[in-house]
Symmetry: C2
Subunit: 237 residues, 2 copies
DNA sequence: CATAAAAACGAACGTTCGTGCTATTATTTT
DNA sequence: AAAATAATAGCACGAACGTTCGTTTTTATG
C-alpha cells in the first residue's frame, strides 16, 4: 500500500557490466516483458491525453506498428490493460516525484521537495497530457469498478506520502503541532491541482510558479517558533 | 462573454397566469425546443459521469426512449451536441452558483457566497458526477478543438466572476489592497477543486466542509484593518 | 541445431459508433 | 379543416470497437 522507502536513491548499475555496447541491454528480461513495457509507455501517454477510456487497442497497435491481436495478447482484456496502465503511470510518478524527495532529509526539506517535484513534473511534461492521475481521477471519480479502485489506491498512497512528510516535519519541530497533517496535505495538493488546471487548460504559464509561492507562503504560516526545533537531523534516513 | 449581472434574483413568474393546471406549461415554446432541452438535460448528467466524449447518441436515445436519428436531427453532429451540452451545463452552473451570489451585496458577502454555493452545488449533487466542468476541464485540457475552446471560455468566465468579486471586496475595503485578485481567485478555486477531488474520488465526506474552513481562514488572513472599510453598502446593486 | 515455448499475426466475429437518407407522423399556421 | 412545416422513425452505410481463433514467425532452451 505504501511507497517502499528503502529504494536506493540511485539505480546502482550492475556489479560487473558485461558489454558496454548499447545493444543487449540487461538481457535477462524476456522479449514479451519488453514489448509489454513499450506498449504501456505509449498507453500511459495516450491515456494522459485521451483518457483511460479513450485508449483503444487499435490505436495503440497502430502507434506501435503491431497487430491488434498481438498487442491484445499481452493483456487479457481492455480492463486489464487499463489496470496495467495505471500501474505503469504510478511507477513513473514515483520515479519523478517521490523518489527524489526521499533523498532529501525528513521534515521541511522533504515536504517541499514533494511539492516542488510535483509541480516540476507537470512543468516538464513527463506525461503528454499534463498529469495522468489528475485526468484519471476526474474521469473515474463517478465510475465504480476495478479501474477506479486502482486509481483511488494510487492517490491515497500519494496523499499518505504527503501526510507522512507533514507529520515528520511536525515531529521534527519544523511546523506547528496544531496543524492537521491530513488536512494540510489535501490543501497543498489542492493548490497543485489548481495550478495544473490553470496551466494546462487556461494556458497560464505562471500558474505553476504562483503555486510554488502560494504553497511556500502557506507553509511559512505554519513554521514553529525556532525554540521548538529539534536537533540531530543529519542523514536522509 | 460575461455573465449578465442584470438577471433578476427571482424568475418573476407571469403577470397573469392563465391556467393553474400542470398542463400546457408556457406553451409558446415549440415542441422541438422542449425535447432538445430534455435531451441536453440527460446529456449533461451523463457527461458529468462518463465524460463529454463518453456520451453516445445511441445511449442518449435509449435513455430518452427515442430513435437515434430522431435525436441526432436536433444537432448536426456529435460535436455540436457536445457544444450544446457545455452550454447547458453552463446555464445550470450559473443558476446554482452565480445567480444566488449576485443577490448578495458586493464585497465579502458576495465573494463568500460564490465559494459557498460552489461547494454546495457539489454537495447536493446538482450533476450526477460531481462537477461537470471539473470533469470536462481535465478531459479536454490537452485536446484542441471547438469543444475545448468552449470549456475554456466558460471557465475563464467563472474565474473572472471570482476575480471581480475579489476586486469589489478590495475596493470596498473588505480585504487588503496588496492581494492580487486573479491569483487569489485561482487559489480559492484550487481549494474547491481539491475538495471535490477528496469528496468525489476518495469519498471523504468532510472534504467540502474542510474546504469551507480553509477558504474562510485564508480570507481572514486578508481582511483589511477595520479603519480601511468603506461605508455605503446597502443594496445588492 | 533441433525443438519446445512464446510472441506476433491476419482474418473474422458481433456490436456500437456517428452519420446520411427517405418516409411518416405531429405540430403549427393559414 | 387544410396546407405547410417541423419532428421523429426506420433503415443502411462504413468505420472502429473489443475479442476470439488458428496459423505463422520469432525467441529461448536442451
Amino acid at each position: 500500500m505504501n511507497v517502499p522507502v528503502s529504494i536506493p536513491a540511485k539505480p546502482r548499475v550492475s556489479i560487473r557490466l558485461k558489454s558496454l555496447g548499447k545493444k543487449a541491454p540487461a538481457r535477462r528480461v524476456p522479449k514479451g516483458a519488453r514489448t509489454r513495457e513499450s506498449i504501456l509507455h505509449v498507453a500511459v501517454n495516450l491515456a494522459s491525453v485521451e483518457g483511460l477510456e479513450g485508449i483503444s487497442i487499435g490505436r495503440l497497435a497502430d502507434e506501435l506498428r503491431m497487430s491488434k491481436s498481438g498487442l491484445f495478447a499481452h493483456f487479457g482484456s481492455k480492463e486489464d490493460l487499463q489496470l496495467a496502465t495505471v500501474d505503469a503511470a504510478r511507477e513513473i510518478f514515483i520515479e519523478h516525484v517521490v523518489r527524489p524527495a526521499l533523498a532529501q532529509p525528513k521534515g521541511m526539506p522533504r515536504l517541499w521537495s514533494l511539492c516542488d517535484n510535483w509541480l516540476g513534473y507537470v512543468e516538464q511534461r513527463v506525461f503528454a497530457g499534463g498529469c495522468f492521475f489528475a485526468a484519471a481521477s476526474f474521469e473515474f471519480d463517478s465510475r465504480p469498478g476495478p479501474v477506479r479502485n486502482r486509481i483511488v489506491m494510487a492517490m491515497k498512497e500519494w496523499l499518505d506520502m504527503l501526510t507522512r512528510a507533514i507529520e515528520d516535519a511536525k515531529q521534527l519541530g519544523d511546523i506547528k503541532v496544531s496543524v492537521d497533517p491530513r488536512q494540510l496535505a489535501l490543501e497543498i495538493y489542492s493548490l497543485a491541482i489548481g495550478a495544473l488546471w490553470g496551466f494546462q487548460l487556461l494556458g497560464e504559464k505562471k500558474a505553476l510558479d504562483n503555486a510554488r509561492t502560494a504553497i511556500l507562503s502557506r507553509l511559512r504560516t505554519l513554521v514553529a517558533s525556532p525554540a521548538k526545533r529539534r536537533s540531530s537531523r543529519k542523514s536522509a534516513r
